[in-house]
């Protein structure tokens, strides 16, 4: 498929989403599909890796090469795909539980590796598919079936984790702000290195605190602040650690960071093979003399 003729609907599969009506994931996914089409990608050359949970169903509803993996391990899979074939556009999608709880260990290492993949975290601050337990981004007083008085521990700040791990593209979007969400994902795709887009994707069934109204009222769009420079590390650090505000936009970008492929010289599609041992393999035997 020639990428010039690709429309965003080409990234849509014939499976109807089973997400609850009004779920934020619809908007999150639409923005991803539009951003992929807008950046000149086609389903044939795109690989989506999805985690487990409501968000993990995205691999089924989108149309591309895809793997729906094991809970929490989507980032290593996406990293492996990209390293083996740098020509593919690799997008990893999962929820806040997948990325910041069971997969938190992989998250910081994926950030610091800086492989050129885009990670969209559909953050609804709740475990939805298991019917409403606290997530790592739930507020400390958020009452759930497994935390009747709230988790009583501070939520994870994923943007700060990414910054501490040396992240080169750290952004936050809101599924309901369709245009901005798409723009931000698009910038993430275009960024040469690992991109984090933490997307507020409200759960209308189990989270009555972090709602559409809440995000609409509280989010501050940094693109409207002329004094904000996303390339300014200290400014970004202050915004990311500002517990009193929720920001939208690209909070930090280091366009001079060295992507993994460049640091390690990994630029070839590894899928092609000769019919026999590679040229020069006999030299390996000689080394053992």
């Amino acid at each position: 498929m020639s990428s010039e003729n690709v429309r965003f609907t080409d990234f849509k599969s014939d499976k109807q989403p089973t997400w609850c009506p009004g779920c934020g994931d619809f908007g999150t996914m639409n923005g991803m599909m539009k951003a992929l089409a807008e950046t000149g990608n086609s389903p044939d050359d795109t690989f989506v890796v999805a985690g487990i949970g409501c968000s993990g169903k995205i691999g089924t509803y989108m149309r591309s090469y895809a793997l729906h993996g094991v809970h929490g391990r989507a980032l290593p899979v996406g990293t492996g795909v990209k390293l083996a074939n740098p020509d593919l556009e690799v997008m990893v999608a999962g929820g806040d539980g997948d990325g910041y709880s069971i997969g938190a260990g992989h998250f910081i290492h994926a950030v610091r590796r800086n492989v050129d993949i885009t990670y969209v975290v559909m953050d609804n601050r709740i475990y939805g598919l298991t019917k409403g337990q606290a997530s790592p981004t739930s507020r400390s007083d958020f009452e759930t079936s497994t935390s009747p008085d709230g988790p009583k521990q501070p939520p994870v700040n994923p943007l700060a984790l990414a910054m501490a791990a040396g992240g080169s593209f750290i952004a936050q979007s809101f599924s309901s702000d369709a245009l901005r969400h798409q723009e931000i994902v698009q910038e993430a795709i275009e960024h040469d290195g690992f991109s984090l887009v933490n997307t507020f994707s409200p759960c209308v069934t189990f989270n009555d605190v972090d709602t559409y109204d809440y995000f609409r009222d509280s989010l501050v769009d940094l693109s409207e602040d002329d004094d904000y420079d996303r390339h300014d590390y200290d400014q970004a650090k202050d915004a990311i650690l500002d517990a009193g505000k929720e920001y939208l936009g690209v909070l930090y970008q280091d366009e001079d960071s060295t992507p993994y492929s460049e640091a390690h010289g990994v630029t070839e599609n590894m899928a092609e093979l000769p019919d026999g041992a590679p040229d020069g393999a006999t030299d390996l035997v000689r080394e053992f003399y």
Partner: protein, 582 residues
């Protein structure tokens, strides 16, 4: 006098034991002698006791024996640790100037050669070369031309400059001269003759790594763990020359998922680990298998359970590899039976993985992984390597595998159980897969018929492999013997050498069957039933492979299975029981 010589150097970790041993082993190999090395080592960086042992002969050697002829003892404990193996003709080389040897007396009958290793090393340029002085002394003791050490020293110190190499050569010569001058009257019964043969010397981990590159492996992800780390260290710096890459993952959970991702992208991909890593990888193992992704997992076994004895030998993971992970899914397990077979079986594992689209375990064990053995270089014939990629389809073949809405069917339910495989980037091949039970398109289903079809299809690949592949055993000893000895993995060499101890008139006749394919495996029913007695030799407490053999021979049970996801129903079950008893 024996044809073989058993030599060892022992001391504390950090004494340069392994590198000294390797220098000697390489010198022997270059001199056209066969070598078999083994290591006693502990999970610590300094102190304790560690030893490197070399058995050498003009003939092939493939096992350790309980006899030590020449021992370089850097500590007194080294002598104590090896007391049982010393004998009347044994020679101990030690430095009596070391404080701890002040009151040392050689064990009765054993000849002790007190050599000022440190002083002589200092004469040559530095005390650090005392082990090389000892090697020079060994050359004199064993009548082994000292020039044979030179190339080995040049290889070891190639990056350190000409002066260091010359100093080491000089150190060796000072050791040899000291023995010639000071121990003229001592009878030295050994003579290491040289031949014109050219051998290569490598261990099992290196053979696995070389096999992987030969087989076109381009991607490796792993987490360091004894005794599998050598695979990763071997590949690092080499696989890049063949367009490949090594990732050191943050843990084994990531390692197998990185390797899985690369495999989904179409690369030949592998990881290697040991028991604790296999435990972690078992989380993703089922996904690899059910998404029908070709992947090679090298499991270099060590002693378990839990952290167990990390630097000790065991074949304890067989059950884990055969059955590990929740649910049921076919996987192949191949178990190389020698260092060279580590190479050949790794190459084969990559072909099996792609032909049958499933994970393949290549399992070595600690003793094979760290054991170096000599082979003629022709053993590793790169021209003989064939790469078979199975049902990999290109853009021209895609349409044959699409459904009526032009969707590619990555899990198509075929007669041989093997589905077409399209790598990402293939036009028209767009598809997903998942760890959920899925239909032919790779999309989630709970339809009981589709579920059963997909389970059956996956197991049908095993039947197909049994038809198409030669899963043969290796045979030694007397094929008409009344008694059968069965082995798997690295015990083969030891058993073959053990046969030489069993060639007396009163000794039993023995047929040895060494099994490199654990699943699918050769059917041993006839061999077992034809034998008076059957013995299964394995390095574990419970006889995991013996269980497998007994399972294969037993035919007693009728099985009623339900894997639809729906409960057994009393009335239907009654009918099934009746039918099976009819």
């Amino acid at each position: 006098m024996h044809d073989d010589l058993n030599w060892a150097i022992g001391g504390e970790a950090g004494d340069g034991i392994a590198s000294t041993g390797k220098i000697f082993a390489q010198a022997l190999s270059r001199a056209g002698r066969h070598v078999f090395t083994s290591k006693d080592f502990a999970s610590r960086i300094r102190g304790g006791y560690t030893a490197y042992k070399v058995r050498t002969s003009v003939d092939q050697v493939q096992s350790v024996v309980d006899r030590l002829d020449i021992l370089i003892a850097l500590t007194e404990r080294t002598v104590d640790e090896n007391l049982d193996e010393l004998h009347a003709d044994s020679i101990i080389i030690y430095d009596g100037d070391r404080t701890e040897f002040a009151d040392f007396e050689s064990p009765a009958e054993v000849t002790g050669l007190d050599i000022p290793l440190k002083d002589l090393a200092e004469d040559a340029g530095g005390a650090i070369m005392r082990n090389i002085v000892a090697l020079g002394a060994v050359c004199a003791v064993a009548d082994f031309p000292i020039e044979n050490l030179d190339e080995s020293l040049e290889k070891r110190f190639s990056g350190k400059g000409e002066q260091i190499i010359e100093n080491n050569k000089q150190a060796a010569r000072l050791g040899a001269e000291y023995v010639a001058e000071e121990f003229e009257d001592v009878t030295l019964p050994y003579e290491l003759e040289t031949t014109d043969e050219d051998y290569v010397l490598l261990n099992g981990d290196e053979a696995i790594g070389m096999g992987a590159i030969a087989a076109g492996c381009r991607f490796y992800a792993g987490y360091p763990i004894t005794p599998a780390t050598d695979v990763m260290e071997y590949l690092t710096g080499r696989i890049e020359q063949f367009g490949g890459h090594v990732v050191q993952a943050e843990d084994e959970l990531a390692a197998i998922n990185l390797a899985l991702g690369a495999a989904r992208a179409g690369a030949r991909s592998m990881t290697a680990t040991s028991g604790p890593g296999i435990d972690l990888m078992s989380e993703t193992f089922g996904l690899v298998a059910t998404s029908e992704t070709p992947l090679v997992i090298a499991n270099v076994m060590r002693s378990g359970p839990s952290t167990g004895m990390p630097t000790k030998q065991e074949q304890g993971d067989l059950n884990m590899m055969l059955k590990g992970g929740h649910g049921e899914i076919p996987r192949f397990v191949v178990a190389p039976t020698s260092v060279a077979e580590c190479f050949h079986k790794t190459v084969e594992a990559f072909n099996l993985a792609e032909k049958y689209q499933l994970p393949v375990y290549v399992t070595a064990d600690l003793s094979m992984a760290v054991t170096e053995r000599t082979y003629p270089p022709e053993e590793f014939d790169m021209d003989a390597v064939e790469i078979e990629r199975g049902k990999l389809v290109d853009e021209d073949e895609i349409s044959a595998w699409q459904n009526d809405t032009e969707q590619f069917r990555p899990h198509a339910d075929t007669a041989d159980g093997i589905s077409p495989r399209a790598v990402p980037g293939t036009e028209g091949g767009v598809h997903m897969s998942t760890g959920l039970e899925h239909d032919e398109l790779g999309r989630r289903t709970e339809d009981t018929d589709v579920r059963v079809d997909q389970v059956d299809k996956r197991y049908r690949k095993v039947d197909t492999a049994r038809e198409r592949e030669q899963f043969d055993y290796r045979e030694f000893g007397d094929s008409d013997a009344d008694n059968l000895v069965v082995s798997w993995g690295s015990n083969e060499g030891t058993i073959v050498e053990a046969l030489e101890y069993l060639d007396g008139d009163d000794d039993p006749d023995i047929r040895v069957v060494s099994v490199p394919y654990i699943y699918p495996r050769p059917d041993l029913t006839d061999e077992v039933e034809a034998a008076d007695d059957v013995v299964v030799v394995e390095a574990n407490a419970t006889g995991q492979f013996a269980d497998v053999i007994e399972h294969d021979v037993l035919e007693r049970v009728t099985r009623i299975n339900n894997y639809t996801g729906v409960d057994f129903k009393a009335d239907e079950l009654a009918a099934e029981i009746t039918e099976s008893l009819a």
